[in-house]
């Protein structure tokens, strides 16, 4: 019954975006999530740690994460997500907001 934890990495051989200072974004409301996004030197890869009350969406998380990494060019980063049943639309929205903020900093 414990929270479902999912860890995976998305490779990125040629990152175009790197992160500065780590930061936090979002609220764990129903259908929403929070994330901490920080830089982590790991051969270009972006690692994800997701804590979620719902199971059975592992592939979906990976697909969204993969699309985000491809789209953004982000590399060498670690992203922790506390999820409360966010839809992929919301996940992607928050990831993009995080990236926009990271690059604005």
């Amino acid at each position: 019954m414990a929270l479902n934890q999912l860890n995976f990495s998305i490779e990125n051989a040629s990152p175009t975006v790197a992160l500065g200072e780590a930061f936090h974004l979002g609220v764990v409301g129903s259908g929403d999530l929070e994330m901490i996004i920080e830089s982590k030197e790991q051969g270009g890869a972006v690692s994800f740690q997701i804590l979620s009350p719902v199971t059975g969406f592992d592939d979906l998380w990976k697909r969204v994460a993969d699309a985000f990494v491809r789209e953004s060019g982000l590399g060498n980063a670690h992203i922790e997500i506390n999820d409360n049943n966010a839809t992929p639309a919301v996940v992607m929205l928050r990831l993009r907001q995080a990236l926009a903020e990271a690059t604005a900093r």
């Binding site: 969406f57 919301v90 926009a100």
Partner: protein, 557 residues
């Protein structure tokens, strides 16, 4: 020349009605008034087994007292009725079938009773005629499904029996006209009987009995959306709609569905719409219930006219104060009319935009689930291309001209086309995918023995799909295969979306058949609630200058 002249009475229906009214006469007093305690006896006097009976009720006002009384009749005397009615949202409507008083149902919308409709069909308690659209059913009232007895509702009657249906006139004129002019019987429940009506909506000589109901009829604030509940994703979709569809097509004449995407759009007209310079160029003429969330757009001068299917609780004073915009009577208050609004909706709109629970790979969409026979009310009439339309508007023509291979199909004859837009997130509640291989409507058809899977909007009528991934301009697709590719391209991470090939999607983007927010020049980080002209119910009241009076359950002060 062979000629046969039948030898018959030509007044059977009239005589039958007269007999029934004779049986009922002891309950009917001056001004056609019947005491509410006598209602059941009255119904027993005028209704016969196998009659076609209408109980007025749409998704808003309901002849609820009469519906409950019909459930109390002696089922030995009255049984096997054939109910023809717009909607069956009340428990009492389905109890009639449970109680054996009614047998057959022709309707348009199920609402909260949709689950029982499916169950009763399966159990043989209810024989389904068909699930119609409103217009289709209204049409049949004048063709082959004319009610013998109609149980209607109105706000007020006067001492002669004239009725005031006012703000929520809705279906009443249609039902009464069909019934009364085919010699049927019309019984009205009213909230009160007064000396003088604000205006006469239904003349007394079309009415047979008037009952002052022990309590006012039930009215549901179905079109009130609390701005506080609009999400960032809905705002993103709304921005895409405005910038990618409303603007470029110049959509002036349209209907909005009741989902929160429409709410977001309505609330962004005075902000984002203004910024895009669209004022006066879009949303000038609407067929719409008096959505409270339209108030900011109306107040900032976007709208020229709105004609309403029905009323909306709390909007009466506001609407009455804006007679330039709304259709109001000589008494100064709104007159709604579902049949006329639906006629405009079917023939005269440039665009219908709504949401759905599921879209299949071909673009067919439905809100049906496996065990609920809900029907779609008016959506299919508006969510289709009306082939009979002959007048031209710019956006209609533009949409029709987009078909790249139109000459190969239609020759050189210019044709227009209604914009039919579905706005959805790729995943709904509980991460249920909206894009599916096969609609649940197929399962429902199987479970409830329906001849057709209930499809709300057929894929070939759909011109645009808007998701968080982008807009699919299906109107620009030459064939089914390219439509399916466009659908896949905006279906995100659903199984359907995963079948999209990146190369193909790229090609579609280049061809302008798919546009992402980035392609449209939309900054996703702006998709937040600061774009809403009103953020909560009180903001709407403020915009209305205190004229809007929200129902209690929507108040946050």
């Amino acid at each position: 020349m062979l000629q046969t002249k039948v030898n018959r009475s030509w007044e059977n229906a009239k005589q039958d009605t007269a007999q029934r009214m004779e049986a009922a006469s002891r309950f009917i007093g001056n001004g056609k008034q019947v005491k509410h305690e006598d209602t059941v006896a009255l119904l027993e006097a005028v209704i016969r087994p196998y009659d076609i009976v209408n109980i007025e009720g749409n998704n808003q006002k309901q002849a609820d007292f009469l519906a409950e009384c019909l459930n109390k009749v002696d089922r030995g005397k009255i049984h096997d009725l054939h109910m023809v009615q717009s909607a069956v949202p009340l428990k009492a409507h389905l109890d009639l079938f449970e109680n054996g008083i009614a047998k057959k149902l022709d309707f348009a919308f199920g609402g909260p009773q949709a689950g029982r409709v499916a169950e009763f069909i399966r159990d043989g308690k209810l024989e389904l005629g068909a699930i119609h659209t409103y217009l289709e059913l209204f049409g049949r009232y004048f063709l082959d499904l004319t009610p013998k007895v109609s149980l209607i509702c109105a706000y007020k009657a006067d001492r002669k029996g004239n009725l005031y249906t006012g703000f929520n006139t809705e279906d009443t004129p249609t039902i009464v006209e069909a019934t009364k002019f085919r010699q049927g019987i019309v019984i009205a429940q009213v909230n009160e009987i007064v000396d003088e009506l604000p205006r006469v909506d239904i003349p007394a000589d079309w009415i047979d009995a008037v009952i002052e109901s022990p309590r006012p009829f039930f009215l549901e604030p179905l079109f009130t959306r609390d701005p506080a509940l609009v999400t960032d994703t809905q705002i993103l979709l709304g921005m895409m709609c405005l910038k990618g569809i409303y603007g470029p097509y110049g959509v002036k004449r349209l209907n909005h569905g009741i989902g929160f995407l429409s709410t977001a759009i309505e609330l962004m007209l005075p902000t984002y719409g203004e910024e895009l310079g669209l004022k006066g160029k879009i949303c000038t003429h609407m067929i719409l219930n008096p959505h409270p969330t339209m108030i900011p757009a109306i107040e900032s001068g976007w709208v020229e006219t709105i004609h309403c299917f029905g009323g909306e609780l709390g909007m009466d004073e506001y609407v009455a104060s804006r007679p330039d915009i709304f259709f109001t009577g000589p008494d100064g208050t709104l007159r709604s009319n579902r049949a006329f609004a639906q006629t405009a909706g079917h023939y005269a709109l440039d665009m219908f935009i709504g949401g759905t629970l599921q879209i299949d790979k071909y673009g067919n969409s439905s809100t049906a689930t496996a065990n609920r026979v809900a029907g779609f009310g008016g959506a299919p009439n508006m969510g289709c291309d009306a082939k009979g339309r002959r007048h031209v508007t710019e956006s209609w023509l533009k949409c029709g001209q987009e078909l790249p291979n139109r000459e190969a199909i239609q020759g050189d004859m210019p044709r227009g086309r209604r914009l039919v837009v579905q706005g959805v997130e790729t995943f709904g509640e509980g991460r249920a995918p909206v894009f599916v291989d096969k609609l649940d409507a197929w399962k429902l058809a199987e479970n409830a023995n329906l001849d057709l899977p209930p499809v709300m909007i057929y894929g070939d009528d759909l011109t645009h799909i808007v998701t968080e991934e982008g807009i699919a301009y299906l109107s620009r697709c030459p064939d089914l295969e390219s439509r399916m590719a466009a659908i896949r391209g905006v279906a995100g991470y659903t199984e359907i979306g995963l079948q999209a090939k990146p190369e193909e999607t790229k090609r579609l983007r280049e061809a302008g058949i798919i546009m992402t927010p980035e392609d449209l020049g939309i900054d996703r980080s702006r998709a937040n609630r600061s774009l809403l002209a009103a953020k909560n119910m009180q903001d709407l009241v403020t915009w209305s200058g205190g004229l809007y009076n929200p129902p209690a359950r929507f108040r946050n002060w």
